[in-house]
Amino acid sequence: MDLAVTEMTNWAVDLIDVRKTYGRRIQALGGVSIQVGRGEIFGLLGPNGAGKTTLVKIMMSVVRPDSAYGTVLGRPIGHRGKLARIGYLPESHRFPGYLTGAQVLDFYAALAKVPRQKRAANVEKWLHRVGMTQWASTRIRKYSKGMMQRLGLAQALMNDPEMVVLDEPTDGVDPVGRRSIRELLIELKRAGTTVFLNSHMLSELEMVCDRVAILVGGMVARQGTLKELTDHTLEYQIRCGGDVAALTEKIQGLGGRCEDGAVILAGHDPQKLNALIDVLRAGNVLIDSVEPRRFSLEDILVEAMGAETGAGAAAAPIGIARHAT
């Protein structure tokens, strides 16, 4: 019993077998289990329609799951009171246009049960932090997309949450803005806030996430720390001088291939690599460098999608393959 409790509270988010079907047919989530550690930046990635938003909405009790077990901040999913400790920025959010920026923050914070004095202080603090102070008393119907996004972030932080859940926070934000959002996330993490991030923009996540889960077609395809997921080698690239062409057959026999002045060996197999080097050395080829190339998050995503949608899909876009045949 005690053990179960500590295990429960170790995770900020511990979801087990979350399922959701919209209407009769559209299965958005087919049994998703993910764990998010306290104080880490967690990235949920996947292509559009993978079910990321649905999962987040279930955590925030905006959508009712067909079945879901587990906890969010140590409380069962759907616990209303705990929502006061979570900040949430929905995907393509909209705030009432008749309010000013400061009024928006105050209104939503009041609904999050932030006491009045705290609200006044936090409006100032977060508007300043997202660089919107001079727009505080402008009605938000005059705001640009980027400004709305910054205000949305401030809104999610108004209750000084234990965890913030951000659904595509960099959507419609220019590169400079994206960079400052990234910095904000890192700052939050330093302050001990758990950050749960949804994104289909891979490069951004790679830079800040401690752990990621890849969601494809409503299922978790991969989950782990960035290091765990990307730390195995995709291929070796051997740069060399001399006549490689003569050795082509032998190289191919070992599973390698020649590509503009370099020999490429796919997979992570040091035995094969050494055998290949022996062949090259025996052929009097001068080896310049041997470089392992690692998986990027993008490679992993493409690979995961390929596994999901069937072989070949990852190698060539489905549309092209179909047109060719």
Binding site: S61, V63, P90, D106, A112
Partner: protein, 313 residues
């Protein structure tokens, strides 16, 4: 705190619509018009003295005259400008409160706050009623003051019309709220609510119409219609309830004798019947009208809340 925030926000949204200003200007114009009427020594003076006539049966020196003046205000000024035009404008002004909240992008933020769905819905609904309350309080409060200071007719019982109007509006607003949950369209809310208003009025007045056409009260049709007439909310009962609280008599008491005596014997008989029906309504305890209407409202709201609580946004 959450209730206050939602009510303030609802008010801000309603004020943001142009209808708010139309309502406010309308109130000012009507108050000026009432102010322009005065009574001096048996004469009624209009437009600050531009015209004058004998005040006749409306002399506020006498109790009968005072009651008739209050009746005129209730049956003609208030029920026309506030009870009809005002209510239509207020239906429009408040129509977007719930659909606006339910727009995709907005509703997710609200639904993820530590407040239950039914509370969120109910508070928002109340914010619409608070808006109407303030509008009605302004109109009726000013009317009472004008009547008191300008005419010397003090009838604080008229203030009961403020909650009565809010009550009557709530009968209609529950329809608007339910439509909002189902369609999320302010336009649909306005159209269906006004349509429902017409239907409510027709159904709940049907037995009286049948009586006016001298249908046998013991006939089966009459009894069925009479039973059904209790189902919809009694939106048409506002003037009669207001008159009851302000001790103003029926709508025919308000008219001068000359009007009542004009016309043929047939018309006079119709008048008598109408007066008889109204008098019966006046004597009926308000709890029948209000209770049955609130029951209807509770059912509609319950349905709307249930539907709201079960929606995936």
């Amino acid at each position: 705190m959450q209730l206050w925030a939602l009510i303030v926000d609802g008010f801000r949204q309603a004020v943001d619509s142009k209808i708010f200003w139309v309502l406010a200007c309308g109130t000012v114009v009507i108050m000026l018009a009432l102010l322009s009427i005065g009574f001096e020594e048996g004469k009624a003076v209009f437009l600050f003295g531009a015209f004058e006539t004998e005040s006749g049966g409306y002399n506020p020196m006498f109790e009968l005259g005072r009651s008739r003046l209050v009746g005129v205000i209730i049956y003609y000024v208030m029920s026309l400008f506030l009870g009809w035009i005002g209510v239509v404008l207020m239906i429009i002004a408040t129509a977007d409160l719930i659909p606006g909240m339910l727009q995709s992008g907005s509703v997710e933020v609200l639904a993820a706050k530590p407040i239950s769905r039914w509370r969120l819905f109910l508070y928002r609904y109340l914010s619409g009623l608070v808006f109407v309350f303030l509008q009605a309080a302004l109109f009726i409060g000013l009317t009472v003051l004008v009547m008191g200071f300008r005419w010397g007719v003090w009838r604080p019982g008229l203030l009961a019309s403020i909650p009565l109007l809010v009550l009557m509006f709530s009968y209609l607003y529950c329809v608007s709220a339910a439509v909002a949950v189902k369609t999320r369209s302010a336009l649909a809310c306005v159209l269906i609510t006004i349509g429902a208003w017409v239907v409510f009025a027709m159904v709940s007045q049907a037995p009286m119409l049948m009586e006016a056409f001298r249908m046998e009260k013991s006939s089966r049709l009459y009894r069925v219609v009479y039973a059904v007439s209790w189902v919809p909310p009694k939106t048409g009962d506002l003037p009669i309830l207001a008159a009851r609280f302000a001790h103003a008599g029926t709508s025919s008491d308000v008219l001068p004798e000359s009007v009542l005596q004009s016309g043929g014997p047939q018309q006079r008989e119709d008048f008598e019947l109408a007066r008889e029906i109204e008098e019966r309504q006046l004597k009926q305890p308000p709890v029948y009208s209000i209770g049955s209407s609130l029951l209807f409202e509770a059912v509609v709201l319950g349905f709307a809340m249930l539907s709201f609580a079960r929606t995936d946004f």
